[in-house]
Subunit: 233 residues, 2 copies
DNA sequence: CGGCGGCTTGAGACCACTCAACAGTGGTGG
DNA sequence: CCACCACTGTTGAGTGGTCTCAAGCCGCCG
């Protein structure tokens, strides 16, 4: 539980520039948590008690609409903070976080936030830039939703996923965590049926290879061309 | 240009808790700018040189898609900061800002940011919360785009505009700055034609009164019910 | 008072959704 | 170890909400 090994986190950008004693200091207040596949880290609407730093694995952040539909906000990669409701002045979590594979995260109680912010000036800057990056991504997705048809939205979503966690294989670039048609649909505002049809069509054209919770992009550059849709072919 | 009167800004939440000398100190580095209606404060892609605080008027933040379409990100109300690219580690402005009515804003050079952040600890917290609020709003809109049909998206957009700048009149609540069908379409990912049809239908049902660049909601509660669509009537 | 920017309305087409049925696939328990 | 079952994915048919294209109107500003 406690006794976090500093070697796990020393090279993460969040803690860049800290001395070893400062690092130990920050880690003393944290717990290390293990989440089984499909385990819930926290739930939307719940009182926010902690903020997290993902060390291993992958976490899906999703929101439930008033009408009961799920929307996927993002996939969190190792090294990223999540559940930072405290930092943005929220007392409840605005989304649900679920481990998509077995995962390990550090968790600090919210009460540790002000102190850490005061002691580690880079934390504030880093958090602001993270928020800014997410705001940008969110606005980019908003633009895509507003102006692009489904096929191009899916292309953009896959490209983002690749840049976040793409693993080179002999066949192409594989998204290195399980992702279903349903997940992709909930990221792009469509249905799993339409995603399935489009992936099938792409597979026929040799653009991707995909299977159960698995997508490999054969040629990312070609997919990018399709996403920006200059070539109609 | 310079010589900013502190009485203009003393009660703004950003500067809450500062002494008068601190306030003068912060304002010394700022210029006061006047923007005519439809004047551009800064343009997407341009080198970010300053960050702004809107004092009077209203500013529209919009983004241009790679295919040349405009998307409206938000309307900025007095008291809000905008163009804070520096804070989130961007060297270029990610959007374009245009005054929708004659407006006045304070502008600080980006070089002033680190110093202000160090001198006024509340500024960092305030900025983080602002970013958090915008991220939330952006994600809410994403959810709406993903799951709601156009009519309800427009209802939600109008309700947000009302909460931001609604002015009570004898007919209902008026959006207190000029807004066209086109603007609403670019906020909700639809066309001005569809917006026009829907507003016409609402007008027939007595829900709104609208005209050239002007929308008054007769009964916000009823519009909210339509937005959440429990009653089908 | 003329013209331009904003708004309205109709007709037709199409993309993506819904509904529906079925087919793999992997994990699990007997 | 194998059979079953639940989960995930595929594919077809029909429908409808929204877009596109098109024409004309209104009201403000110069």
């Amino acid at each position: 539980m406690s006794a976090v090994d500093r070697s796990l986190v020393a090279e993460l950008s969040i803690f860049a520039g800290l001395t070893l004693t400062e690092l130990d200091d920050a880690l003393r207040e944290a717990r290390s948590l293990r989440f089984a596949k499909n385990a819930v880290a926290f739930e939307q609407g719940q009182e926010a008690e902690s903020f997290f730093l993902l060390l291993h694995g992958r976490v899906r952040a999703q929101k439930l609409t008033p009408t009961g539909e799920q929307v996927v906000i993002r996939f969190i990669a190792p090294g990223e903070m999540f559940g930072v409701a405290m930092a943005i002045g929220q007392s409840i979590y605005p989304a649900t976080a679920i481990a998509v594979v077995e995962s390990v995260a550090l968790a600090w109680p919210n009460s540790a936030w002000p102190g850490m912010l005061a002691r580690f000036p880079t934390l504030g800057v880093h958090t602001m830039q993270t928020l800014g990056a997410r705001l940008q991504e969110s606005q980019t997705r908003l633009m895509e939703m507003s102006t692009l048809e489904v096929e191009r939205r899916i292309a953009h979503a896959l490209l983002r996923l690749l840049s976040q966690g793409g693993k080179q294989t002999t066949e192409g670039v594989l998204i290195d965590f399980p992702i279903s048609r349903q997940d992709i649909a909930q990221m792009t505002g469509t249905t799993l049926h339409t995603v399935s049809r489009i992936l099938s069509a792409w597979e026929e054209r040799g653009l991707v290879v995909s299977g159960r919770q698995k997508v490999t992009v054969r040629n990312p550059a070609q997919l990018a061309r399709l996403a920006d849709a200059e070539g109609t072919s």
